[in-house]
Symmetry: C2
Subunit: 196 residues, 2 copies
DNA sequence: GACCTAAGCGGAACCGATTCCGCTTACGGA
DNA sequence: TCCGTAAGCGGAATCGGTTCCGCTTAGGTC
């Protein structure tokens, strides 16, 4: 037989490394939970996890990477619900209805995790992970609910409005309530899915 | 006579301070022009302007404040054009047309100044300066061109799509051309201003 | 012109993120 | 079980942004 293509991946994480990853995630999780990520330094996390700072960086790349890992944990449920959960978030109802549900659900998620999302943002370069998932999700729904629009572009645009920084600005800078933002989203989705 | 209301403001900038402000802006301007702001440190600027770093911070608050000052210079023309320039950017044509012109003009501006805009962003808390101007501009145009929508919310949403970070992501992360983004904006504006 | 005082100044000190590098150790192969 | 080696480790060093603070001086007042 030929070799399998080499994305058979790098070596595989050593046992002690995996243990440290867990330790770090756990320690970081509680520190963040009690003080908010902005008040927690990388050294705080290293000390609490009983590892050197070098280890943090080896495992997670940088501060944003650590935030991202933390966030991912707390967000998987939502992602799964989109794909295979019960309607209207999951499949089984018209796309327009799922777009509304997505907005409400996502706004809820931001409301709780905005700080972490902002901290994780620098890592979320283009196509990486979650963002791509959300974009694809929206793109598919839009293709069905608003066939007269460029689904890809529109999906990215809608996502821009759900950017955590933007959200915090509207929420606290401009004083919108969560409810108002949900209504705003709904109105926008309605306007976009209306047939020309 | 009574005193004028006290926003007759604080003392007034001392002559040497004003001189330093100019020196700093000039030095920073050329450094940024030749290397891009990301490659220029506050100390670089201080050295080039022959002042202490403390002076930078006294004048501009922080790095973002300096970037903002730099940006403002290079952006005033556009702001003026919106308010009192010739149509279609300025007044004199239907609001929908001006919305299209705004998008094209602003995308052009971002294309050139995205780096600076990103660096200045942390300063641009809620209502401060430019952002508020753009939001108001859009709000007024939308009130006329899309009376069936919540103008304030929609204005903020449209602005979110023009966020410099978002722009860079679409431009370089996702590979959109400037032209495609302009077309996307146009399509979106059309969809929103279409009567229900 | 001398004096006063708050504005302004410079640069050392501080702080947190990130990098570097010499030492340690897990673990696959013999 | 013993070895070799690359993965992993810790923490000192570096880097840039920001703050602090004792000294200087512009520019009113007398």
């Amino acid at each position: 037989m030929f070799e399998l293509p080499q994305f058979q991946e790098q070596p595989r994480e050593r046992a002690d490394a995996a243990r440290n990853r867990e330790r770090i995630l756990t320690a970081a999780g509680s520190l963040v939970a009690e003080s908010g990520i902005d008040a927690v330094s990388m050294e705080d996390v290293a000390k609490a996890a009983c590892v050197g700072t070098g280890t943090l960086y080896r495992r997670f790349g940088d501060r944003a990477g650590l935030a991202y890992a933390l966030l991912d944990d707390q967000t998987k449920d939502f992602q799964n619900a989109l794909i295979s959960g019960p309607p209207p978030l999951g499949p089984g109802v018209p796309a327009a209805e799922r777009l509304h549900a997505f907005g409400a659900g996502f706004l809820d998620l931001i409301e709780t995790h905005a700080e972490l999302m902002v901290a994780a943002a620098p890592t979320v370069k283009e196509s990486s992970g979650v963002l791509a998932l959300y974009a694809t999700h929206l793109r598919i729904l839009l293709a069905e609910a608003a066939p007269h629009l460029d689904a890809r572009y529109t999906a990215e645009s809608l996502l821009a409005m759900l950017d955590p920084k933007q959200h915090l600005r509207m929420r606290h800078g401009l004083g919108y309530s969560l409810d108002q933002l949900v209504r705003g989203w709904d109105q926008l989705v309605d306007a976009l899915t209306r047939r020309p």
